[in-house]
Amino acid sequence: MLRQTPLTATHRRLGARMVDFGGWEMPLHYGSQIEEHHRVRNDAGVFDVSHMLALDILGPDSRAFLRYALANDVARLERPGRALYSCLLNQRGCILDDLIVYFTGEFQYRVVVNAGTAEKDLAWIRALRQRGTPDITPQCGLCMLAAQGPNARARVWDALPETRNATEPLLRFHAAQCGEFFVARTGYTGEDGFELMFPAVRADSVWNALMRAGAAPCGLGARDTLRLEAGMNLYGQDMDETVTPAESGLAWTVDLSGGREFVGRRALEHGHPLRKLVGLVLLGRGVLRAHQRVVSAHGEGLVTSGGFAPTLGRSIALARVPNAVNVGDAVHAQVRERLLEARVVKPPFVRNGRSLIGPIGEPE
């Protein structure tokens, strides 16, 4: 039996193709995944992300606890309202999950983790509590929506005018609680927008208000192509418990400054990563897909995520390759029996609706 979000019946009513995503029954698309992708790049779309788990971490020890538990340093969050992206590492310095932590008030943080790893994360975090004794409370009664796109904030304000005053001044990677709505200017698409968390009983009324305001329903399919264009990793695909942040393009999220002790630090300081994650742009026709072999002058690698990039009209990928491979290099990906030429680029591929990969020429 698949788990359902507060909006599962609504997605079905809208004609969504529903799929099993990490044990959750989720919408893949509502007709055309590519149209949904373009709606987010050009206007505004809404994703049901209620399968993700919010954990509230409360207590005088919460800051010290998270400074130990997370690879990025929550001490960077100087004031309540700020957010930080971090990996959760094991003692080997490998990635248990990636998450966003919001500083929500004095002695209060909210951590949002992936659906497929939620139970593992919760058990792991609870087991670390000998380092402090904050209250760790999963927020299971929440609906979470991501409104994304250049017009997404305006659509949210149309739908929920009571949130406007508190959320209009929010900078990127900041959040505010307004009444029952927790509103964060974060997302997973490379576009501006808000992520909203609120009591599940309001799920349908808020969803419908966003539809009336002109936001398009968008499924996991578009979410995947948008995040890939934005150069954002997907846990379980581009990274997992076998790789470190440095091998996953995430060294920038590990704060090694000062003497802060955190889980995985010692392993990272003694490790010598041999591989790294890069972007690939396929020069000709075809589609890069996860698990394809990558052949370079410096050895072989593997595509971790690949697909057709609707904004670019060609195929792109994230790939784990030997360290000596550099941006600008020509490599080949094995697509069925053929080796197709690809250029190595530095992700992101697209940000705020625009291509960042420079001229490559039409695919044939």
Partner: protein, 128 residues
């Protein structure tokens, strides 16, 4: 489910239509395109290639996955649809207008061994 009565079908979701000139047009069914989602890439067989029934001879790729296309009957490839190669999304718009390739069948009677519309619709429904 859109399964035109005038066509023949394979268990692997190709449709086949005998044309007035004796060739057989081949495409993928509406059910198949609906399951695959937005099409983004099509690879077609070379003209002149001789195919046995059941041979992998083309690939359609959607945002979701790559799918092999099999020759429904034995024959020689006499045409490939460049318009579909250039605009794969036409398969989503009208799967039965978007033929992928045409075969000159070794034996036109072989079409009779394929599924009719009712049998294909039953198979497709049971897969839902």
């Amino acid at each position: 489910m859109n399964v035109p009565a005038a066509l023949r079908y394979s268990k692997t979701h190709e449709w086949a239509r005998l044309e007035a000139d004796g060739t057989v047009s081949v495409g993928i069914t509406d059910h198949a395109q609906e399951r695959l989602g937005d099409m983004v890439f099509v690879e077609l067989p070379d003209i002149g290639r001789k195919l046995a029934a059941g041979t992998e001879c083309a690939v359609v790729e959607s945002v979701k996955a790559a799918a092999d296309v099999y020759a429904p009957v034995c024959g020689e490839v006499v045409a490939a649809n460049a318009a579909v190669r250039d605009a794969p999304q036409s398969i989503n718009q009208d799967a039965y207008a978007s033929w992928l390739f045409r075969l000159k069948p070794d034996d036109p009677a072989e079409l009779g061994s394929l599924l009719d519309a009712r049998a294909y619709a039953e198979q497709a429904t049971s897969e839902e």
